[in-house]
Point group: C2
Chain length 157, copies 2
Amino acid sequence: MTMKLMKAGDDAGVADNMFVDQGGAADGFLRIGDMAKKFGVTLRTLRFYEDKGLLHPQRDGSTRLYTRRDKARLKLILLGRKVGFSLRDVKQMMDLYDPSGTNTKQLRLALDKSEKQLARLQKQKQVIEDAIDELSNSMSLVRKMLAERSSQTNSAA
Amino acid sequence: MTMKLMKAGDDAGVADNMFVDQGGAADGFLRIGDMAKKFGVTLRTLRFYEDKGLLHPQRDGSTRLYTRRDKARLKLILLGRKVGFSLRDVKQMMDLYDPSGTNTKQLRLALDKSEKQLARLQKQKQVIEDAIDELSNSMSLVRKMLAERSSQTNSAA
DNA sequence: TATAGCATTTACGTAAACGTAACAGGTGCG
DNA sequence: CGCACCTGTTACGTTTACGTAAATGCTATA
């Protein structure tokens, strides 16, 4: 059994929410593979996010080392994506983060974007509900048609 | 005033539902521009659908002429898209249509695809609702943070 | 006849978020 | 020693439904 030094179980369920990035690089560097497993993403994804300027892991030579800050940022990214923000939006919001300030501007931007996104989501929900309704109608109609057909064809069997 | 022979007002609100294509090419050919206006799509869309084998308008030389059948088909396409089917799905279903049969196979396929699509839509709806919840949570959190900030900064004003 | 207005065709561009391939060089361990 | 897995980079592929030219032609009207 390869148990190794797998103490990579910091658990990602801390308790911070969106737009709230508390820094702090104490210890517990993760390498890309651990990071990927911890968050359920692929290596490609992590490199991609870095390429897009969303993550900035340290380097040990060429090896990426992810700190607590990176974990927090990734958590934000994934949450952002979950609620439907584009990576561009997420970046824009995170780029405003300044550990030495009140981040009022960041929070305002986030709130503004959030309101718009919320509106979008509600519209989408409405669209989907409409689609469900129409599809259900069509389905019951088709079911009726099939019922007629079978009552004609099978009545002689 | 260019009134011409514009009696192209057949009205698209007949009363057929999805998967139900009744043929019949009596008269009233529409050209692509009229067709587009009638259904609120672009010329590009109509040509695109034709290119994908979803529409087969007649030709007068090189000019496309759309018949009643084409209108019915387009209506189905648009309904299909509204409920979230891909054009490929729509084509697959429409290709099974046979004016000289009971179309049982077509209806079964349509029903099968519809059930799957309905499931997809319900999942999507759930995802969106989750997103709405999470986003709402984050928003109220951000609002609190902003409130704190302003109570600190503005208290001295 | 010139102009307007509609038609035709081919074909590259767009958006998002990665996946996937390809190629090469480390590193740990059993 | 060899295998599995790490690292790096570049860059094309995928998906869907069109948008957007670009270049050209037909036809009716002023």
